[in-house]
Every structure is written in C-alpha cells, then in structure tokens.
C-alpha cells in the first residue's frame, strides 16, 4: 500500500515537473526576456568594454563588480564568524607526523597525495590566471587550492599542513580578496574614472586595454589567494588535535 502510494506521489510530482518544464521557453530561445534584456549588450560589447575575452569574467568582475565585491566580503565574514566561534587552530603537543585515525594511512595513499597535490595547485594557478580568457577565475582556483589542502590535511594531519602554510602567512592573505578588490576599485577613482570600472579615462588610449586586463587579472589573483586561505583557515579551525590526543591517550 505504502509503495503504491509513494509511487503515485512520485508519478504525480514527475508529471507536475514535466508540465512546468514544458511551459518554460525553449533553451536558447532568443525571444525570452533573459536573452533580450542585457545579454545582447554584454555579448556584443563586453570585449571592447571590459577587455576580457571571457564574457562571464567581464560580467562578474566589471559589470557586476559591486555584487562580486559583496560576495567576497561575505566569504571573509564567514571566516570571521568561524574564527569567532571556534578560534584559530590548536595544534597538538606532539610534533611531527602523527596518525590519529583508527586505521593508519596507507603508503599508496600518502605517495599519491604527495604526487598529486603539486599538480592540483598548478592547475589552480592555471585556473586563476586563465580565468580572464577561458572558464575559470579566482573563486574556482581558490576552491581548488583549498581542496588540495583538505586532501593533504586528511592524509598527513594538521601539524604537517599547518607547517607548510603557517598562520603567519595565512592571516594577512585571508583578507586579500577584499583588500585587492577595494584597492583596484579605488585605483579607478584615482585614474579619474569610476569605482570598479578599472578604466582610466585620462590614460593614453593605447594603454587602456592592457591596464584593464591586468587590473582584472590582479583582482582574480587576489580573490583566488583570499578564497584559498579562507577555506584552509576554516578547515584548520575545525580540527582539535589537543582533545583528540586526550581521548586516545
């Protein structure tokens, strides 16, 4: 009975969803409001206005620069909240590699992680620097660096990973996304333009595209580094080595 009932509900839900999908405008229809409002303008003018080949990067960092700056601030606030509740990481008394899981990590996994992490970080650098011309960007690259350190920390423990990215390095870089974004935005004001347009109207005409491109790349790097450090700091803050030792000892 229950099965029939749940089958009935699933079928009803499926029909409902299919009905909604059928009433939606077809994918890529040029007549829909989304495709007729600002998108043609973005697609036609983005390259000459933002000097980034990747229109998405142009939209995110230039047209909607304020929005992205808010997002970056939200990420920083998340870190601030986590640190306010949990505090900075507390490393255990034992120095060196200690395996605390009930199953000691295998040589294969350790070798593979040691082999892969540099490639992952290399890929993230590519993602960050290439975000201006291909899919990618600061947020994605930062998340990849954070992911690589999560893998490293689960296999080698907090001591090893926090020795490689010590708090002294992380603390100033955590805010780099917000700071770089704000400074680069303010540079537009200094150059006589608007906040966050990256354009200097008084600069030489030929200099303009290179300037905008490099400032965009600078913002990408700032977002990438800041995002990565925020992720790593949140991860470290959630590890409590002292208490784990007390439990197992």
């Amino acid at each position: 009975m229950k099965r029939v009932l749940s089958l009935f509900f699933i079928a009803a839900l499926g029909v409902l969803l299919l009905y909604v999908v059928a009433s939606m405008p077809p994918m890529g229809d040029p007549q829909t409001p989304t495709a007729t409002h600002v998108i043609p303008r973005y697609l036609e003018r983005a390259e000459e206005e933002t000097h980034t080949e990747n229109v998405i990067t142009g939209v995110i960092l230039n047209y909607r620069g304020y929005d992205t700056m808010g997002e970056v601030t939200v990420i920083f606030c998340a870190l601030a909240a986590v640190l306010a509740v949990l505090g900075r990481e507390r490393r255990g008394r034992i120095r060196g590699f200690v395996d605390r899981s009930p199953v000691p990590s295998s040589t294969i996994v350790r070798t593979m992680v040691r082999f892969m992490v540099p490639f992952i970080i290399l890929f993230s650098v590519y993602t960050i620097l290439h975000g201006e011309i291909s899919p990618g960007g600061g947020f994605q690259g930062g998340a990849i660096i954070g992911g690589s350190m999560i893998i490293f920390t689960t296999v080698f423990g907090l001591y090893e990973s926090s020795r490689r990215i010590p708090q002294k390095v992380r603390a100033p870089l955590e805010g780099s996304a917000v700071i770089v974004f704000f400074l680069v935005g303010a540079l537009g004001l200094v150059g006589g333009g608007n906040f966050l347009t990256y354009a200097w109207p008084h600069a030489a005409r030929g200099l303009q595209p290179a300037l905008v491109t490099w400032l965009t790349v600078l913002v990408e790097v700032g977002i990438g580094l800041g995002g990565a450090m925020v992720l790593i700091s949140i991860l470290f803050a959630m590890i409590r080595e002292e208490e784990e030792i007390a439990l197992t000892a």
Binding site: P102, V103, I108, V109, M112, M116, F119
Partner: protein, 111 residues
C-alpha cells in the same frame, strides 16, 4: 572519414555512459561496502575512460588530445587510490561482510 570518426566517438561515449549507469545502479543496489566498491570503481575506470577515449577520437590529433591523455592519467591514478583507501579502511575497521541470511537480507547498510 569524418562521419566514421563521429560514429566511433559517439559509440565510445555511449559505452562509457552505459558503464556509469551500471556502476551507479550497483552502488545503490549492492548490500555492503565491499560489494558497493566493486561497481562504483568501474565508473571511473571503464566509464570515464571510455568517454575520454571517445572524446580523443573526436578531437583527433590536437592539443585537446594531450589534455585528455593527462586527464585520463590523473583520473586512473586518483580513482584507483580512492578505491584502495576505502576498501583498506573498511577492511581494517572489521566492517562485517554481507551474508545472505534466510529471508532477512539485512537492512542494506552493511555495517
């Protein structure tokens, strides 16, 4: 020539998708960790590699082929390591094997 290449590439991608489907079904339907590990590791090796070979055939001799080969290498290395880590951890933690028990076939959680 181009049509033949498209057909071969499409067929390889379909084979890959088939293995993904089978692997996912196995992951959902198998009773315990060890039996689930068996189909799910097939997804990455057979499924993803067939799709990548299909895309390599489709792209021909180009830089994309180079990238695909690198992707395939990393995929094979990491998925094999992943399967090893899960299986080894489950074995060392003495997670019981699934056995057929009369009419009751367990709750499907394995542990």
């Amino acid at each position: 020539m181009s049509a033949a290449r498209d057909i071969v590439a499409g067929a390889l991608c379909c084979i890959g998708t088939f293995f993904f489907l089978v692997g996912t079904t196995g992951l959902l339907r198998m009773p315990d960790v060890f039996t689930r590990l068996h189909p799910s590791t097939k997804c990455d090796t057979l499924g993803a590699c067939s799709v990548i070979v299909g895309m390599a055939v489709y792209s021909g001799w180009s830089w994309e082929l180079c990238k695909l080969v690198v992707i395939a290498c990393f995929l094979l290395l990491s998925s094999a390591t992943c399967g090893h880590a899960i299986g080894r951890s489950a074995l060392r933690r003495n997670i019981p094997y699934w056995r057929r028990q009369g009419k009751e076939t367990g709750d499907g959680n394995g542990a």
